[in-house]
């Protein structure tokens, strides 16, 4: 086994660490604490946050990559260990090989037979054309009629295990948090459901394809789960990448005004006047060429896909910084008129210190709101970009690629609906949770809305 740290892995873990540090530091700041408290004092906040955490958790597990060592070939004595060129993640291990159970081609959810006929030979050796049985579904059944009772029985056992696991996990939390006033029970409810579902899924998927299989015979459930990492990472890393540009330029423009302001305004007006999709498309193509010209940079395919992914994050970030920059510029303009910045001037505090201590901390809420708001928008944008053909590398699982591939499936007779359904629900749950959560965060942090509340 050889751990692999892809660039995106590194970035996401960096981001997680940074966020942890950030929140740890913010613990001291009572105002921020109060606002977060407000977010988490609602049941909705707890539920959505838990859902997001589950997704992030899956994404993180899927970001722990390694390459399996190959067995030493027989009759050859070498010191060197060689590795599989396929990259496996901890999530793959936890799913107990869900991604390795390939069928020939399409099969419906919980189906026992393939969705497409095949030329076969029956026992007498006559050529027949029929639906071949699946290799990894219902093999243990003697009679196809036993399928649903079997599913029910297995589900029940799995659920029992799930409940047990959930009880343990939630019990531990209860011990730690029982004195908290926040509605943790809401979070526990979600956790229980998620844990049960997960246990059920892993269990059942060993005997059936829960969401069927796709054209190439890959389990759709597995693909949907693999899409989680792409979605979550794209949503977070893009913003992460654009933050430094947007914040630096925005703050500088708003604080120094004058020609700095003119230049920054020129930059973002220019950038935002280009139709976004064209800019993104051109940039993605550009990076594709770079990859093509430097194939030696990437020893395995995954790294290449990852590089393209990072590039996409980067491009989405670079093309979208203007909005945040504008907001921050406006806020900085406002802040620099406020008493405390004036007072700091009167105290002869240096520019860098004023920026660092007075301006930056007070635009953090805008960054935060943008971060949560953009998250869902970016997840949705990915699907559209993949449709246009400038999205995620096709070898990397993503909901956008699934939808894109599923377009023609809908026109089949009978319809292949499960790929689309899988992508839809996984995407919808994440985006919905993120949207609801971002509403709460905005309500808590946006001075306008909080003002309204205090008036009431």
């Amino acid at each position: 086994m050889k751990p692999i740290l892809l660039w995106s892995d590194a970035l996401i873990f960096l981001l997680v660490i940074a966020l942890c540090l950030f929140f740890y530091r913010l613990r001291r700041d009572p105002q921020t604490r109060e606002r977060w408290g407000e977010v988490f004092s609602s049941r909705l906040g707890m539920v959505t946050f838990t859902v997001i955490l589950v997704y992030v958790g899956v994404a993180l597990l899927d970001s722990l990559h390694f390459r399996r060592a190959l067995e030493a070939p027989e009759g050859l004595e070498t010191e060197e260990i060689f590795y599989d060129n396929k990259v496996t993640s901890v999530l793959d291990v936890m799913l107990l090989g869900m991604g390795d159970r390939f069928e020939r081609t399409y099969s419906a959810p919980f189906a026992l037979k393939s969705f497409e006929k095949k030329n076969m030979k029956d026992e007498q050796g006559n050529a027949i054309r029929d639906f071949p049985p699946l290799e990894h579904a219902g093999r243990h059944l003697e009679d196809p009629a036993e399928r649903w009772p079997d599913v029910a029985a297995r589900s029940l056992t799995a659920l029992l295990w799930g409940v047990l696991a959930a009880a343990v996990i939630i019990g531990l939390q209860w011990l730690a948090l029982r004195r908290s006033t926040n509605p943790w029970y809401a979070s526990w409810g979600v956790q229980a459901v998620v844990i049960c579902l997960f246990v059920w899924m892993v269990n059942i998927s060993r005997y059936y394809h829960i969401l069927g299989t796709d054209l190439g015979g890959t389990d759709v459930m597995y693909q949907s789960l693999k899409g989680v990492r792409t979605g979550v990472l794209l949503g977070t890393l893009s913003t992460l990448i654009m933050l430094p540009i947007a914040v630096t330029l925005g703050v500088m423009a708003g604080y120094f005004k004058g020609w700095v302001d003119d230049v920054v305004q020129y930059l973002y007006t220019t950038l935002s006047s280009i139709p976004g999709i064209l800019l993104i498309a051109a940039s993605v193509l550009l990076f594709q060429v770079y990859i093509d010209l430097n194939p030696d940079f990437f020893s395995i395919g995954m790294e290449k896909a990852d590089a393209r992914f990072i590039a996409l994050c980067f491009i989405l970030g670079v093309t979208s910084w203007s909005t945040l920059c504008r907001l921050i510029r406006a806020e900085t303009l406002k802040i620099s008129q406020l008493g405390y910045v004036q007072a700091a001037h009167a105290f002869g505090v240096s520019h860098s210190r004023i920026l660092g201590r007075h301006v930056l901390p007070n635009v953090v809420h805008i960054i935060l709101i943008t971060f949560v708001l953009d998250f869902s928008a970016l997840v949705l944008a990915e699907a559209v970009l993949s449709y246009i053909g400038v999205g995620i590398d096709p070898s990397m699982g993503s909901w956008g690629n699934m939808i894109n591939g599923a377009r023609s499936e809908l026109s089949r007779e009978p319809t292949v609906w499960w790929t689309l359904t899988g992508a839809f629900f996984f995407m919808f749950a994440l985006v919905l949770a993120a949207n609801l959560f971002s509403d709460l965060v905005r309500d808590a942090f946006d001075p306008r809305t909080s003002m309204r509340r205090s008036e009431a």
Binding site: Y266, L278, A282, L286, I388, G389, N435
Partner: protein, 325 residues
């Protein structure tokens, strides 16, 4: 005001130059003129001579930005960048790499785009405002909370699903309208129903939610309390006081988009087979037709800038407090 508009237009020039510079750089890092020649000439029997001819014919036989071999100002002017951009400023878009006159194409494709985008836009705003007003009327009840939840759910669904779902249900299963296309001879409006419906429904979530926020913001203003104290009814307050005031932020958010309606919608047009500028752009991206991309970027930027100017003008119209200077 006239001076203001003139000034804004002058300000647009450096922006457009910047836009051009950026598109050029991006595109030519991706594609050399040789690549363009190859992809336009096809895959069989492409000789270097053919490539050279194509480049000469289409004006790509010069250096990109700096012509080191030229004299005087021609160092900068005898380049692809200068010759191609200068024409853009004269609204001469030239010909696409495949030889079509872009201006003609844009002029003809503009109308189908508009035919979809305009009703989509107008009906969308109207529906969103209606829905938002209704929700505001019941605000702070359980109904309001559910409505917000529904809005958020609606906006959490990818646009692609609306289109795919709409086509699948309305056109394929119910057979109410043609599934795609746009035919001026065959009752063009019936082709527009579905794209407009899809566009409007897909926009309700975010639109109505945003308008609701704006209305609520206005509903908390002092003058609303004054109106209440006058004895005005809830509905009359909503329509006579809140709506006109909320129109100001709505306008400014929306007016900037109006010129861009000409550009059409990338997704709707390509899914519904509407021969507008959106699908034109998508095709150009896919076939890497730089002349079209460049022209569309240019047009898009101009329309955006016009949108900004219109926004400012609409401010003065909607809000008596604002005057341009």
């Amino acid at each position: 005001m006239f001076a203001y508009i003139v000034r804004r237009m002058l300000y647009a020039i450096p922006i457009l130059i910047g836009v051009n510079l950026l598109t050029f750089t991006l595109f030519f890092v991706v594609n050399s003129p040789d690549d363009m020649a190859v992809s336009q000439l096809g895959e069989k029997y492409v000789t270097p001579e053919a490539i050279a001819t194509w480049k000469k014919k289409n004006g790509y036989d010069k250096p990109l930005f700096v012509n080191a071999g030229a004299e005087g100002s021609e160092v900068l002017t005898d380049t692809i960048f200068f010759s191609k951009s200068l024409k853009l400023f004269a609204f001469d878009f030239g010909r696409s790499e495949s030889g079509r006159d872009i201006t003609t194409d844009v002029a003809t494709r503009m109308w189908p785009s508009l035919a979809v985008a305009l009703p989509n836009f107008a009906i969308g705003i109207w529906v969103n405002i209606c829905v938002a007003l209704m929700v505001v009327m019941f605000h702070a009840t359980r109904l309001d909370r559910w409505a917000v939840f529904v809005f958020v759910s609606l906006m959490s669904i990818s646009y692609l699903f609306y289109i795919i779902g709409g086509q699948f249900l309305v056109a394929k299963t119910w057979k109410l309208v043609p599934i795609s296309g746009f035919n001026i001879e065959a009752q063009p409006w019936k082709f527009l129903i579905l794209p407009v419906l899809v566009g409007v429904v897909a926009g309700i979530g975010s639109g109505a939610r945003w308008y609701r926020t704006l209305f609520l913001e206005e509903a908390n203003q002092d003058y609303v309390r004054t109106a209440r104290a006058k004895g005005a009814s809830e509905i009359s307050i909503l329509f006579k006081h809140i709506l006109p005031n909320a129109l100001i932020p709505i306008l400014t958010g929306v007016v900037v988009l109006i010129p861009s309606l000409f550009m059409g919608s990338l997704l709707i047009e390509s899914f519904f087979g509407i021969p507008g500028l959106g699908s034109y752009m998508l095709d150009a991206i896919k076939s890497q037709d730089f002349a079209i991309v460049r022209s569309m970027v240019f047009i898009g930027s101009i329309l955006y800038i016009i949108g900004l100017i219109l926004t400012d003008i609409s401010y003065t119209w909607a809000d008596p407090r604002v005057r341009l200077n």
